[in-house]
């Protein structure tokens, strides 16, 4: 038996995964590999299958065919919990946080630390508050009071809180679903900065976006998704922003589009 060092084995290896919903083919052959310490950007236009792919990796959907291997072992997730236990944490665009709950309660949601013996076992809120505050501080967000409701945080802070939570709970692979799409410039910078920090800690990141600029700023590798298929993976040096943009648009260049739209738009 060949002894493989862990660095040879990709963190996650998606092999020719398909997903059908009735007669609709949402994914028609996805292959993708992500290594530790790497930000892998997944680019695709609306309807390219990004969301379905994320949900398949996160354990929400089961693939119709194909295999997913995590650290060399084939996995089959029945629930988001299974994916979490395998070290895959997903930060959804807008569904990450519950605004009426406190920062601490959100941070520890589903993974509450407890103290005491049953039946008196309880959520250790004091320690949880301290940890939440500390972890947020590490990413440069000053939560004045970890008991304040999450609704009081800005969009970027909420995304960062979700990322901090995943990292704290030992995620190996972080899936970020369009983390910057709803954010302003300053907040986008914050999220990109933190994504970079996560990579330096040795985690693998799948960064989903349709914004090539954001992808290029933080990504090591780029995979373009179109109509449920992967069009190929490129390292940062191999492809430039324009080429990525064109692939996302399905081969049409922006110039072609401009020409189609007529002179008025082309001059803009």
């Amino acid at each position: 038996m060949a002894t493989q060092s862990t660095s040879d084995v990709p963190l996650i290896d998606v092999r020719n995964v398909t997903k059908h919903f009735g007669s609709v083919i949402a994914l028609s052959g996805i292959s993708l590999q992500v290594n530790s310490g790497e930000v892998h950007c997944l680019l695709g236009d609306n309807g390219a299958g990004k969301s379905t792919l994320i949900k398949t990796l996160a354990g929400v959907h089961k693939p119709t065919t194909g295999e997913i291997h995590v650290e060399g072992k084939r996995v089959s997730f029945n629930s988001p919990r299974d994916a979490l236990d395998a070290g895959i944490a997903t930060v959804y665009q807008d569904l990450a946080m519950i605004p009426l709950m406190s920062v601490t309660r959100n941070f520890f949601m589903g993974r509450e630390i407890t103290k005491g013996i049953w039946p008196f076992r309880r959520f250790d809120l004091e320690r949880a508050n301290a940890i939440a505050k500390e972890e947020m501080k590490k990413i440069g967000i000053d939560v004045r009071e970890p008991e304040q409701s999450t609704g009081t945080l800005s969009g970027g802070e909420r995304q960062s809180l979700a990322i901090a939570r995943a990292v704290y709970f030992g995620a190996k692979l972080l899936i970020l679903d369009e983390p910057t799409s709803a954010l302003g410039v300053a907040q986008t910078t914050m999220v990109l900065k933190y994504t970079n920090l996560v990579r330096k800690r040795g985690l693998g990141v799948i960064f989903i976006t349709h914004n090539v600029r954001h992808a290029y700023a933080v990504g090591d590798k780029f995979t373009v998704l179109n109509r449920g298929q992967t069009l190929g993976t490129y390292a940062k040096g191999e492809i430039d922003m324009d080429a990525l943009q064109n692939m996302m648009a399905g081969g049409k260049t922006l110039e072609d589009l401009s020409a189609e739209l007529g002179d008025e738009v082309a001059t803009v």
Binding site: I98, L100, F108, E145
Partner: protein, 374 residues
Amino acid sequence: MSETTASTASAAPAADERLIKIPWYIKILRRPELGAMAGTVLVTLFFLFYAREQMFTLGGMISFLEPAAQLGILAIAAALLMIAGEFDLGVGSMIAFGGMMVGIPLVVWGWSLELALLMAFGFAIAVGIISGTIVLRTHLPSFIVTLAFLFILRGATLIGLKWATGGNTQLRGIQDAAGDHWLLDYLSGNAFEGAFVTFAEWGLIDTFKSGLPKVQGIPVEIIWFVLLTVLATWVLLKTRFGNWIFAAGGDAVAARNVGVPVARVKIIMFCTTACAATLVGVMNALDFGSTDASRGLLKEFEAIIAAVIGGCLLTGGYGSAVGAFFGAIIFGMVSIGITYTDIDQDMFKIFLGAMLLVAVLFNNFIRRKAMGGR
């Protein structure tokens, strides 16, 4: 002297200088139960001025706390379920159903009380699991699903009681059948009767001419009410399961995505409301010695009203058991207190509706404050 104070101050962990000190009154304002507590104070003041003084004697207080406690037991469970994002309209019918489920085995089959209780609560849990599972599987609003159970359970109680009695909708003889079982001390009558006799001897409380106390003890419902409030509050605020209740009601999808077993939490909460209703039904049946198919009529709405007055949001994810506690007390105080005044008793319904409206408006305002004043 001044030096020692200085050194202890520096030894204490440095206060975060960026932390804006939040004044105590803002912290209180953020609590969901604030409205109900303020309401209780207002209602108490009102009756202190307008009601005959008998209302605030020991006997008078028990007269409004007893119905408050019965409603409160339901309201606390309803509040937890509402925080988890669901309703249960079957609660009122479940009271009658629970009364029947303990009455039939006792009277008709001659079972012992513990076996009868086991059956009654077993059925309650089954009803909770069934209605909860239907809600979660079909994604239908729990409002509709449990509305169906409101009728199904009421109908089943009518049929069951007619079968058991040969055509009556009332089953008698429960007290005789229960005998003097040790469990009765906890489910019917008064608690602390011995202490009240002693208080009477000491002249601390009003007595009859015979020297026996006018109020023989605290009805067990009130003890259950207080204990369940404490338990529910502890579970909600201090345990992992409590965090799951908030999460399930706040955003079920987000909660599921981070591994909270939302379905299990909600089903357990449906079972809790069914068990709370059964507890009230059992206590009624054992207290009166009979059970009736019309018990608990409209209690489902009263429980929800008490929970809403107590600060629960109809959309879930926010609320408190302490709030429901005070909501139920307001309810009992107004419904009974009005008989101690010269006010037309029909005013109660108007007052109740107005109270509900004010509570909902207030809660909405508080929620916006809690979300950061936006």
